[in-house]
Symmetry: C2
Subunit: 399 residues, 2 copies
């Protein structure tokens, strides 16, 4: 049900207009939002008083005067992001404009007590803040990406196959007392999908991001927004069963896509059946890139199976673009070509007519870009702005 | 990007509030939309002058006076709907409130020249209008449902496997000169999904409606809205390939879900392999319901294959509810039980934890209810209201 605009709606709309452009005048804002110029002026004062925006420079105006330009105030606060994968993590500090101030990459083993991992994250956040010459009091938003299903509304990890000790753990509670910030938790592949969408395909409405690394997962953008499903498990395609396989999966089922085509399964098979010296997805990628024919052959089989599942998803969801990411995605010719061949052969002609299947060009950065983008989107939303402005907001009009 | 409200936005919001309730006062509207009371009064006058709403009766008011109640004016216009399936059609005349005035059901063979079918539809519309004592000049919206993919924005049928002569045919153009109406065209299964959603599950965000009749298709509701995909082919799951089948499909591929589990395929197999006297999906349903063991056995196999595909879609989309419709859906114990067994066994536990799989209770009505609901939703949208009001709208404010 559509509603007319409340105070937070209006402020949110203005902030988003200001954030989307490098600079904008009050007159342009009024024109673009169709709000009365007096309303715009009044609300802009609220945002200026709260320090969320600044005015600087001058813009050409129709009259002789030069109009002042409004910008998001990069110093109004900081965004912390931790993109936690199964074995790697990227942590970063950014300003409200999404400009990264500093970052770090490290190896992690996610399958530990959440307190242990989050304690480490918090410690690294502290070090990064110190490095950037900022402090915890300036943090306005935190995004944590995890390699498992998340109930987005509460930031709770739910029945994660990869990080079982996190089941039911409410991540925001861990950071609440440490930072004056809004805290968002999402699945790592959802963040990668958001990152690709925001960076390269903002105009695309329906996009799938398929990560093929240790495991296999899919981030879904429908109608320009992340689709997480009713329990946050949407996109969990790694355990879709391939009817013509009975490969044993570590999840205890058999015939899962991940058990045939995931980096972990590939490495295990190459070790056992071919005696290759590989321990993880990155080793598989390296050997295939070096031209090891045993590895290339296994990757080809993997590509075929990923293609079978994606063909079904293309018929179902009719997306405009599929981005292949994760460490194995670097194997363009072997992996991407194999996936494409099967999808174009098997999915409906109408659904593949304008379908693009591409390799991610953001690499390890995708999740962090998505995490920053999610934080911006959320804190500029009406409810985010309400929290951000706090006492600067007028009390709501009485009925 | 969010925008503040323009004139059509405001009018659309008010109309939707009025339509969603049986009656509402100006004061309640102001409260619910958070618009200024003066704005509400002014816009209500526009809607009254245009005859879209009426005021009648009195409601208890806080003061001594009794406030006038506003309602959508059922006499402001008519909605025509034609839900065209592969072999059956339901046509109806309704008022703007969605109240059906009259309807008819008939057998059709959709695979003919579109002009021929639409000529027949137009003739029936005329007869129904006469029956209701109304005329073509009162029609404000028309929804046509067809059993094939539709580019929703233009109402063009695109590469339909079942009705090849319709490829590229712009349906709205056929009716444009005949009625002063906005014309919407959608896939028939999308309309069934909308109908179930609107009638029984308005609070459910993510819903799949799977029609198992002559063919197999899926209507998708994501975030409370229909998901049609980039080319309008979303939900076309009938031709997802089952890797463990090589059944020849009439679409010229092999191993399609529809070739194993669709009513047409079932009927053909029962004829050829068992010598049963069946010609279509309804015959199959009848014989299975009568307990013919050859038919029941085939339906069980069909259920298993539908379940395999749905398990994958549940892992991918994480819906809250799946509704099984179409003529075979009446076979609750055989079909529904079989589908459920496979989905709960194969899909991710987190995704099935709160998943419901039910049989449609709307039967043949689902598509028509969805078609009426689509028409209402569209004509009460900002762009629909703009067209509906025409000259009653104020000219847009100059920049």
């Amino acid at each position: 049900m559509a509603h007319a605009r409340s105070e937070p709606d209006t402020l949110s709309a203005l902030l988003r207009h200001i954030a989307a452009r490098s600079a904008v005048t009050r007159a342009t804002l009024a024109q673009q939002t169709q709000l009365a110029p007096s309303t715009v002026s009044q609300r802009v004062e609220v945002l200026l008083a709260a320090g969320l925006i600044v005015e600087d420079g001058t813009a050409p105006s129709r009259g002789g005067r030069r109009a002042l330009q409004l910008r998001l105030n990069p110093d109004a606060g900081l965004i912390l992001t931790a993109d936690l994968g199964a074995t790697r993590a990227m942590l970063a500090v950014s300003d409200l404009n999404g400009q990264r101030l500093t970052r770090t990459i490290a190896d992690v083993t996610i399958n530990q007590e959440p307190q242990q991992i989050l304690g480490w994250v918090d410690q690294r956040f502290g070090a990064l803040l110190a490095e950037a010459g900022r402090d915890a009091g300036q943090v306005r938003a935190i995004t944590i990406g995890v390699p498992g299903p998340v109930e987005f509304s509460t930031g709770t990890v739910v029945v994660p196959p990869l990080m079982r000790q996190w089941d039911g753990f409410p991540v925001p509670a861990y950071f609440e007392d440490r930072y004056p910030a809004q805290i968002f938790v999402d699945n790592d592949v959802n963040l990668m999908a958001l990152g690709e969408h925001q960076q390269h395909y903002p105009e695309v409405k329906h996009l799938l991001f398929v990560k093929i690394g240790t495991g296999i997962g899919c981030g879904i953008i429908i109608d320009g927004r992340p689709h997480r499903g009713v329990k946050g498990s949407a996109g969990d395609i790694g355990h879709i069963r391939l009817p013509d396989s009975d490969a044993q999966c570590w999840c205890s089922n058999s015939g899962c896509l991940e058990a045939v085509a995931g980096g972990r399964a590939l490495a295990e098979r190459l070790q056992k059946e071919h005696g290759c010296t590989v321990t993880n997805a990155r080793d598989v990628t390296r050997l295939a890139a070096e031209g090891d024919q045993r590895v290339v052959a296994e990757v080809r089989i993997a590509a075929r199976h990923v293609g079978i599942v994606l063909a079904a998803l293309v018929s179902f969801a009719n997306p405009e673009i599929i981005i292949i990411g994760g460490s194995l995605a670097q194997l363009d010719e072997t992996l991407l070509a194999g996936i494409r061949a099967v999808v174009y052969e098997r999915a409906l002609p109408l659904a593949t007519r304008s379908l693009h299947i591409e390799t991610s060009t953001l690499g390890e950065e995708a999740g962090t870009i998505g995490a920053i983008s999610l934080a911006q989107e959320q804190i500029l939303s009406p409810s985010g702005v309400t929290k951000l402005l706090g006492t600067h907001l007028r009390p709501p009009r009485l009925p």
